[in-house]
Structure formats: structure tokens, C-alpha cells
């Protein structure tokens, strides 16, 4: 479970219907993350280990990995980035 505390709030709030868009504000909005720090595989040791999971994507022959352990927190859920000249939103 990513946010058990949020799930608990939702479960208390009653039934959910996929057809109705009825979002609930559970925390205040977070500042968007734009133009994040990026490094090369050579300098990866500080940021990720071989056995850690990453979300990998390739656009126009450029590849980038987003370590899940860096994306796991409500503040980090969405990374606005650019890869191979394509603006992308890294999220899972």
C-alpha cells in the first residue's frame, strides 16, 4: 500500500463509483517538480543500487531510469521531465 492513511480516509467516506468523478481533497497540493536533477549511469552509485526497481523509458534513442525509491512519496509522484526532446511525466 502506498498511502494506507489515505485509503483509510477513503474507505470511511463511503462507496465509490468509477463513473462519478468525485475526488476528495486529502492533503494540500504539492509544488510541481520540473527540470529535475539528472545524472549519468557512471555516477549512479549514490542514487540507486543494482537490485532496486526502476521505471525505465526510451524516447528517440535516449534512455532514462526513474528509481521507484525516489518516486515513493506523495510529493514525488510526478516528475515533469524532458527526454529526447519529448516532454514526459514520469509517474507510476
Amino acid at each position: 500500500m502506498k498511502y494506507p492513511q489515505f485509503f483509510a480516509l477513503l474507505l470511511l467516506s463511503g462507496s465509490l463509483y468509477a463513473d462519478d468523478f468525485n475526488p476528495r481533497q486529502v492533503v494540500k497540493p504539492f509544488e510541481p517538480i520540473m527540470a529535475p536533477e539528472i545524472t549519468t549511469a557512471k555516477n549512479s552509485a549514490k542514487w540507486v543500487n543494482d537490485d532496486e526497481l526502476v521505471l525505465g523509458v526510451t524516447v528517440a534513442n535516449e534512455s532514462r531510469a526513474y528509481p521507484i525509491n525516489q518516486l515513493t512519496k506523495p510529493t514525488r509522484e510526478i516528475i515533469n521531465d524532458t527526454l529526447g526532446d519529448q516532454p514526459i511525466a514520469a509517474t507510476w
Binding site: P23, T39, T40, A41, S44, V48, V57, A65, L71, P74
Partner: protein, 214 residues
């Protein structure tokens, strides 16, 4: 993983702090439209009804990703947790690999436990037949259209990182979707973008779609 461009206009997304169906709601700061994170669809605001293009992304280990993409770069932000290593496959019953085929089309999903057991799973739908394949060492999952040159193939696992189609006995790489040997050598399967998701969230969004678990 989404392209964040609509008709040439770049959007920047923030976490709205809202949840809907147990899943994150995003907001773009340019139009303030609210978006479902899982559906990739504008739900309220100027861009309501607009769909973001999903990009093929793989969930795998850093070691495997770097071996396949030596020139890769990576995000360099501090860790917020350390729990997502290969051990995430220790709770596979909580996760699915979901494949939304698009508006008006089905959104099938395969349980990670099923993938862990069988590694190669065929998903037959009225609209298309998919092959969903898991590479155990790196933990990646990929979905491909099972049709090659107009003919739908049936695949089964045939050793590490390999699957074989029953029509020609060609051997295919489960990560790249390329035929490595046999009559179809050199052919490539078309990858269909999918996403690892929590089973509960997937069921809430796609209650009528099949989750292949047995």
C-alpha cells in the same frame, strides 16, 4: 509514464492532493484541469475528456536496465524509501500489470503472481490477442501484440528470457520482443504500453475488465 504535451502545448503536472477511487489525481498548472493518474484522462476542467499518450516504460531493476541501456541517464533525487527492490515481487498478489488499450477498448490486466508463475501469459480479447511476458532476473513485464504479419501467434515460455511461438517454433526475447532464431528471426512484436498498478486500484477503475490471475 505519459507524454505531457497536448496539441503542441506543454503541460506541467502537480500532485493535486486529491484522491479518486483510491488513486492520485493530478492537476496541470497551465489549465488547472484535474486528471486521473491511472486513466491519463482529463476529468474536470478545460481539458476534460482529453487523453494523455502513454509511453512504454518498463519496471525492472537498475542492474538489468543499465545492462540493456549502457548510455542511460537517471533521476538523481534523494531516496524517499528503500523498500522497492526485487522484493516487491514477494507480494505479487497485490499487483497487476494493466494494459489500457484506449478509449472504447478493453483494459485487461494480468496479476503479477500469475506472471511470476507462468512468465508468459496469453490474453485473448475480441479486439486483439496480447502476449504478456515477465523477465525474472530483472523483474520487468512487457505486453506485446501477438500478431505478426497478419497472423496471431501463441507463445509459451522457453527458458530464461525466451519464449517460443507454436506456429513456427521461432524463439523470441521476452524483453525486446524480437525473434532471435527460427523462421521469424528478425521480426519484432509491437509493444503495447502498460503499467504496474495495485490490484485494488485497477479493479476500482476497470471493474468490468478481466484480470487474468489463474
Amino acid at each position: 509514464m505519459y507524454a505531457r504535451e497536448i496539441e503542441g502545448k506543454e503541460l506541467n503536472f502537480q500532485v493535486s492532493g486529491m484522491l479518486w477511487n483510491r488513486s492520485l489525481v493530478m492537476r496541470d498548472i497551465e489549465t488547472e484541469t484535474l486528471w486521473s493518474h491511472l486513466l491519463g484522462r482529463g476529468m474536470r476542467g478545460e481539458l476534460e475528456g482529453v487523453e494523455l499518450e502513454m509511453l512504454p516504460a518498463s519496471m525492472t531493476t537498475w542492474g538489468e536496465w543499465r545492462a540493456r541501456h549502457p548510455d542511460t541517464t537517471l533521476l538523481a533525487m534523494s531516496r524517499t524509501t528503500d523498500r522497492y527492490d526485487e522484493g516487491a515481487w514477494k507480494s505479487p498478489h497485490k499487483f497487476v500489470y494493466g494494459i489500457p488499450l484506449g478509449p472504447g477498448l478493453p483494459s485487461p490486466a494480468v496479476g503479477l503472481r500469475k506472471l511470476q508463475n507462468d512468465t508468459v501469459v496469453m490474453v485473448k480479447l475480441a479486439e486483439a490477442t496480447l502476449v504478456v511476458a515477465h523477465e525474472k532476473e530483472g523483474g520487468s513485464v512487457k505486453a506485446f501484440d501477438a500478431k505478426v504479419d497478419g497472423k496471431t501467434l501463441t507463445f509459451s515460455a522457453s527458458g530464461e528470457r525466451r519464449m517460443t511461438d507454436s506456429s513456427t517454433s521461432s524463439e523470441w526475447d521476452v524483453v525486446t520482443g524480437e525473434a532471435l532464431s527460427g523462421p521469424l528471426k528478425g521480426k519484432s512484436l509491437k509493444e503495447i504500453p502498460g503499467t504496474v498498478s495495485f490490484l485494488k486500484a485497477w479493479n476500482a477503475f476497470y471493474p468490468d475488465d478481466e484480470v487474468v490471475n489463474e
